[in-house]
Every structure is written in structure tokens, then in C-alpha cells.
């Protein structure tokens, strides 16, 4: 979501336009979710942090100084709540959620029903392998890529807010992490 759009939607939502709010949620929800997922919280914690970020955003709507940076605002709020979860050690549960890896083969997806069975199997196997190699990347690369893969692609400002790394270092790190991912895939003969 670009800044002009975000600023206009925030303004409209603050003025009482529920459709504008819905558009904000639809446009920025994947970013918030990516930030939460990047921090490897348990599902329960992930849900709570996601909600907290949106509740606080709703609460501050109309008071946000730079409405064009709504994405960065949400990403940063989500990040700080994630770090708090990680700090409160009692409630920390690391997730190497194997269900994520199995989900394609177990449940299938709407997309797959459109493909014929054989093609779907090949495609889902490819997606599964890609995801598996991604999950096994070093923690920082995994984190960076998880945020970058939000839909629509987040701006580097948003990524910076989400992970607390300088905007200028995101491009080179991104190249590097994607190279590493590709190297892993090649090593597995998956590309």
C-alpha cells in the first residue's frame, strides 16, 4: 500500500468511513501477520499480538502523525509486542510448526482444485520444498524474508519498522538471503 493511499484511507477511516478501515485492514493485514510470523511466536501469541496491533491502531486512528506511514506504524507496534512476548519467558513457546509443512499435502488449497491432480502434486511439492528450505534458513534471513514476502510487498520503511534494521541495509541483506535460499534449493536439486 503506497503512502498516498494509506494516508487517504487513514484520514477517511478517522472521519467515520468503515469501508476505508476495511480497506486498510485488507491492505496491511498480511504485513502485520508477516511481522508476527517472522518472530516465531506460538499461534496463540501470534494471534494476540496481531490483535493488539490492530486494536491500538484503531485507538490511535486520527491521532497518527504520519498517516502515510500506517504500515510502518503497525509493523513497529507488532514488533514491539513480539519482543515483549519473547521477553516474558514463561509464555514463550518456540514454534517449529510442522503442521505448516504438512498443510499442503493434508488439506490442499483452493488454488489446487483448479489444477489437474498431477500438476497440483508437482506444484505443491515445489512449494513445500521452497517453504521447508526457507524455514531452515538462518534465523535472521528467515525473519527478513518472512516480512518481505507479505502481500503486497512491503516498503523498506515498513520492513525497517518491522525488524528494527536500517533501511539502507535491507536491499543488500535481501539479495544475500535470497541467494542463500537459492543455494539451498540448488543443493537439494529443487531448482
Amino acid at each position: 500500500m503506497d503512502r498516498t493511499d494509506a494516508a487517504a484511507l487513514v484520514q477517511a477511516a478517522a472521519d467515520g468511513d468503515a469501508a476505508a478501515w476495511k480497506a486498510l485492514v485488507e491492505g496491511l493485514s498480511p504485513l502485520v501477520w508477516s511481522v508476527v510470523r517472522a518472530h516465531r511466536l506460538s499461534d496463540a501469541d501470534a494471534h494476540e499480538v496481531y490483535q493488539t496491533a490492530w486494536f491500538r491502531f484503531a485507538q490511535h486512528l486520527g491521532r497518527i502523525r504520519e498517516p502515510g506511514k500506517a504500515g510502518a506504524w503497525l509493523a513497529s507496534t507488532a514488533r514491539h509486542e513480539c519482543l515483549k512476548v519473547i521477553r516474558s519467558a514463561q509464555r514463550l513457546t518456540l514454534t517449529d510448526d510442522p503442521r505448516l509443512l504438512d498443510r499442503v499435502s493434508e488439506e490442499g488449497t483452493p488454488e489446487q482444485s483448479l489444477l489437474d491432480a498431477e500438476e497440483a502434486a508437482a506444484q505443491s511439492e515445489r512449494v513445500r520444498r521452497l517453504w521447508q528450505e526457507f524455514e531452515e534458513l538462518g534465523e535472521r534471513c528467515r525473519q527478513l524474508l518472512r516480512v518481505l514476502m507479505a502481500t503486497p510487498p512491503p516498503s523498506y520503511q515498513d520492513v525497517s519498522a518491522a525488524l528494527g534494521i536500517a533501511v539502507g541495509s535491507i536491499g543488500p541483506l535481501r539479495q544475500r538471503c535470497l541467494r542463500r535460499l537459492r543455494a539451498r534449493l540448488e543443493a537439494r536439486g529443487a531448482m
Binding site: 476495511k22 502485520v32 509486542e81 516474558s88 538462518g138 528494527g164 538471503c177 539451498r184
Partner: protein, 181 residues
């Protein structure tokens, strides 16, 4: 804010390279010299994006909660900002596992101190004054509490998940910043 995980991750292999990962040895080091070459990172990133949309999308019911959260938009209430959170601002107490979470919120001259334990929550409005308090857990109406003449209040159920307090004092409505208990 000093919670920067980039400085203290125990899994670091190379302290000078926080993005170092587990790819072993020569192959890993060599690739840095290859520079950006012709590799189209954008294609791989897009594949990841599609994979995430299939394998790890925002749960629909969760996104609906965010849509419903519009009801929390309330321009008439003052927001009491979080000014102290023991989780961030206090040193951990060694050996104690059930440490209460101490929170302070401030809106202008009104301060709200809150202590959250496994047993419930208690707190005080300052300057001392009676208040009607609602413990919110989301866009639905919350459970009511009363603060006595000294501004003290207790609730016998600890908030779980995101929560905020809405306080009605004589003249004003104050809502504490949402956070996760």
C-alpha cells in the same frame, strides 16, 4: 527501547555477520564474492510470496477481528499512553517466575497504575478519584469495575490477551493503550 534481538541472538555463528546462517563452509563464503550477478532475486521473492499466501495466510477469523476493531475507534476518549512496563523497563527478578506485570499509563494529569498477576488485576487512578472502569478485551463490551474514593480498583480475573481499561471519571473518558497482558 532495548529489546533488540539483533544483538543478542545465541545462535550467532559470526558476531560480525548477524545474517550468517547455517550454510556450511566454503560455499557460503565464496558466494559473497560473486556479487549481485544476474540472479533475479525478485522472482524467488515472488515465489515465496505465493507460498506464504498458500501456506501461512492471515487466518480469516483473525482478519475479521481486525475489521471489527473499527468499533474501538473513539475520538472522544483520551488515550492514556503506556509510560512504564515492567516487562521492558524493569530488571528481571532472578528466581521468581510469577512476577506481577506492572504498568503505568498517563493521559495529561491522570495516571493509572495497574498490576497484573495470575490472580487478577489491581490498580489505582491518580490523583485519587472514584471512577467507573471497564476492562476491555476487544471490540465487545468489557467487564465493569469500580474504583473507590482513593482511586483503587481490583478485578479478580486476570486479563488474557489484548486488554485496555476504559475509565469514566467525573468529566472525562480515558482509555489505556491496548497491550497484551
Amino acid at each position: 527501547m532495548n529489546g533488540d534481538r539483533y544483538d543478542d541472538d545465541p545462535h550467532d555463528h559470526d558476531p560480525h555477520d548477524p545474517y550468517d546462517d547455517d550454510l556450511s563452509g566454503e560455499e557460503d563464503r565464496g558466494e559473497e564474492d560473486r556479487g549481485d550477478e544476474e540472479f533475479d532475486a525478485g522472482i524467488l521473492e515472488e515465489e515465496l510470496r505465493q507460498a506464504a499466501a498458500v501456506l501461512d495466510p492471515v487466518p480469516a477469523e483473525l482478519q475479521q477481528i481486525a475489521v471489527d476493531a473499527y468499533a474501538l475507534h473513539d475520538l472522544d476518549a483520551r488515550v492514556a499512553e503506556l509510560t512504564f512496563d515492567s516487562l521492558v523497563d524493569a530488571l528481571p527478578v532472578r528466581g521468581l517466575t510469577d512476577v506481577p506485570r506492572m504498568l503505568t499509563f498517563r493521559a495529561g494529569e491522570v495516571t493509572v497504575d495497574v498490576e497484573v498477576t495470575a490472580q487478577g488485576l489491581m490498580g489505582q487512578v491518580l490523583p485519587p478519584q472514584p471512577a467507573r472502569i471497564e476492562v476491555l478485551g476487544g471490540p465487545r463490551p468489557g467487564s465493569p469495575l469500580m474504583a473507590d474514593d482513593l482511586g483503587r480498583f481490583t478485578g479478580d480475573a486476570p486479563p488474557t490477551g489484548p486488554f485496555a481499561l476504559r475509565l469514566r471519571t467525573g468529566e472525562a473518558v480515558v482509555v489505556t493503550e491496548w497491550l497484551r497482558a
